[in-house]
Symmetry: C2
Subunit: 475 residues, 2 copies
């Protein structure tokens, strides 16, 4: 270490995923210098092994289902999805796992990219070790932002680690559809990958320990996705705990708590995430390796004046768009503090990631899609908030009927009955992803129900569901 | 008249289009009795000759274009749209021009339906004449709501009335695609019908007097639709005034001010609307037949205590959803006044149609679609409002690229630089219709830009355009 090159800059960012890129971009725009440290591909999970490839895998299936539901157009579809072409499109959306385009963007944004593994080494210090073992010791004048993200967890199931299970990385980057795919876990990754690979030719089985898929969302979501996966030919097993795993020749064999046995060619483990803090030198600054970083509203590590934990690594909301949002807020806070300015930490300030707490949107790109923001009814109840739940079938909206024959979907709104504002909204149905931002603005803007009555949905769009929800609430 | 049956009720509603149905429904829910008078089909233009059939004609073309833009799925499309099946689907969406379903709904809502032509006959009085010449004299205790709508105008062009031109009614209900269709007018009806029939086999020519299609919208809209229509094979002539029309055998021949001549099998006249007030007994209450009814914020005719003009008939905003909105506001005002309650006419009150003035949404279902709400840049300038225009290409959003290869679109936001709120937003591009309601809520809710920063669009949706617009505004 004594021989390490030494450099000083304003901000060091560990991890060049979408969160780290945005922190660096914001602070550079704010007049600071930034070094961005990344041992793998610039762009991170989202670009290469998550959002982009998964949505590219799913989009063709969605578009075909939509056209098949419109008589007159459906007749033009006489063939099947071209799996090789779909995989090729997926490859192009990941830039063939080549990050030169993103590295160019980083350079053009005035950010200094350092390839290697960065580890904290006491206050404001990061040591970066490159692939050849060379090191650089970085000193940050103002802040170090840890944006190393998360990795898929592998649960402690007997034998599981030894069967070479797929993580979401392998599931999104596979070069061909496995014959039989076992999916362990019924959260959004498991549901999306089951939808994608079943449509692309695999026989998929989903094994979910709990009684419902997508358990964090409104129950209508998991129920609809379960029904749709089963219609598509997926074997969905709820309330089924996997207790052991082994390879039998090329087969993976999973055994379950009810004595069952499931055989496949591959098994995807999608049961949650773990913080990537085990190898960042956390102990040199008094933090626990492997734990999520505890942060305040500005994403600054509690008790520290200079260390930030932004994105998945703080465990708040593990979604690309929320990582980018946190990056904007944290970046603004770093810039303001570097100037000695007061940083307002009140809700909705330009420095606080308030939406993390009350207005996090998410879309599950299954068929049907599930788009939700804010609190579910269960979460409103847990928080002790006075509320009422309003539900309406989307298929009865003229715009939905025009969109697709037999359109089936549900909208659920959770209304704060004291403040008369929306606490949360969930849409379940085909093509609901783009309905969501209206709900996000209503929740974030705390727009009163009485004012929402003046927000007229254009006829005949699916958005007319808003009118029906309001009418149902008024009763 | 002396022999007419006499009846008294709380509210008489003239016209059972979507606006009239909604006025009647609201007042009945408010405890009043209502008689709904209609000489034609219950449900009105929207159900049979406008929104529903036009969108049914367009939906298959849209769905096919979307799937053809997704490699992997596109390969499954080897045939062409089935025109007969598309027309059959259109027919089913108009219930084959049979209103029994709507009449059932009217009855189930507790509304009294009277088939016949209603004419005002002095204060609070309407005489209804049925097809056999029988009459009923209705006296309204509280209000008469005129919801007779509008009809297509035929401009005073030499010979035009004699060539049996199509109105939007014929254009939306035609039993087959005309070989060559001339479209006079480049507003939303002309553009939608040109899109629909060109895709269904016609050779369409659009003749627009002004320099741009969709002249009331942001210029990006008309320019994009012009380019797309031309790509689809439509002959779009801008700055071309039609000066004469004649039939030559079965052909329609239009002559233009530049000496040109256009021949077709049919001509659609889509140059605007006129109030349907020429045969409602307007003169018996001191109003001018044929003129739009002048109304206040609660849709009550100026100077009257009991007469309302709701929907197209007042000329404010001739859109189905705005008619229904006005119906909700006027209905609430009628109920409140019948109880002797104070009616708040301030902006955004439950009785005022404030969105008419500042937040009217509309969607043009062309390819690309045009979805807009609130003020355009030109309208903001005309109103003397301090504003800035922000524009961003939608095709550069990851969600748009995933949606369709080569996605091309534009978003335009008009920001009030003094109040820091949105005045208007326009989206031009494939499948933007459902993006609109977010903008409508932002405009209606007057959500400050600083708060909109916390409304995070889910990644990777097309709605991420919101983030780019805000970033562009911040600069």
């Amino acid at each position: 270490m004594a021989d390490a090159a030494e450099r000083t800059c304003d901000v060091v960012v560990l991890g060049a995923g979408s969160t780290g890129e945005n922190v660096a971009d914001v602070v550079v725009r704010g007049g600071l210098s930034a070094v961005l440290v990344e041992p793998e591909l610039v762009g991170g999970e989202c670009s290469y092994w998550a959002c982009m490839p998964s949505k590219a895998l799913l989009r063709g299936t969605e578009a075909l289902a939509e056209v098949r539901a419109v008589p007159g157009a459906a007749e033009a579809v006489t063939g099947e999805q071209d799996v090789a072409a779909t995989l090729a499109r997926r490859d192009s959306f990941t830039s063939h796992w080549d990050d030169s385009g993103q590295a160019e963007w980083v350079a053009s944004a005035g950010i200094d990219l350092l390839r290697g593994t960065g580890r904290l080494d006491g206050e404001r210090t990061v040591v970066v070790t490159d692939a050849e073992g060379g090191t650089v010791r970085l000193t940050a004048r103002h802040a170090v932002a840890v944006c190393t993200g998360s990795r898929a967890s592998v649960p402690p199931i007997d034998g599981l680690a030894d069967v070479a299970p797929w993580s979401p990385r392998e599931a999104t980057s596979a070069k061909e559809a496995p014959g039989r795919l076992l999916v362990l876990g019924g959260g959004y990754v498991g549901c999306e990958m089951a939808t994608a690979w079943q449509a692309l030719g695999s026989q998929v089985t989903v094994l979910q320990r709990g009684p419902r898929l997508l358990p964090a969302l409104e129950p209508q979501a998991g129920d609809a996705v379960t029904a749709a996966l089963r219609d598509a030919g997926v074997d969905v097993r709820l309330g089924t705990a996997v207790t052991g795993a082994r390879r039998d020749g090329t087969e993976v064999v999973l055994s379950t708590d009810d004595g069952g046995e499931f055989r496949g060619d591959e098994v995807l483990v999608a049961v949650g995430r773990a913080a990537r803090t085990d190898d960042i030198g956390a102990d040199t600054v008094g933090l626990e390796p492997g734990e999520y970083l505890p942060v305040d509203a500005t994403l600054r590590v509690e008790g520290s004046a200079w260390l930030y934990g932004v994105g998945d690594v703080n465990g708040r909301r593990q979604l690309t768009h929320m990582g980018k949002y946190q990056a904007r807020q944290a970046g603004a806070a770093i810039v303001a503090r570097s100037r000695g300015e007061e940083v307002d930490v009140a809700p909705w300030s330009p420095f606080a990631a308030t939406a993390d707490d009350v207005a996090t949107p998410s879309v599950v790109f299954t068929s049907p899609q599930v788009a939700s923001v804010g609190r579910t009814a269960a979460q409103a109840a847990d928080a002790g908030l006075p509320h009422r739940v309003v539900e309406y079938p989307i298929g009865s909206i003229a715009g939905a009927a025009l969109f697709a024959d037999g359109y089936t979907g549900t909208a659920v709104a959770v209304v704060d009955t004291e403040r008369e504002v929306l606490l949360g909204v969930t849409f379940v149905g085909p093509a609901v992803a783009e309905l969501l931002h209206a709900a996000t603005i209503a929740v974030v803007g705390e727009v009163p129900i009485a004012r929402l009555w003046h927000a007229v949905p254009a006829y005949p769009t699916i958005s007319e569901i808003w009118l029906r929800l309001l009418e149902t609430y008024r009763g």
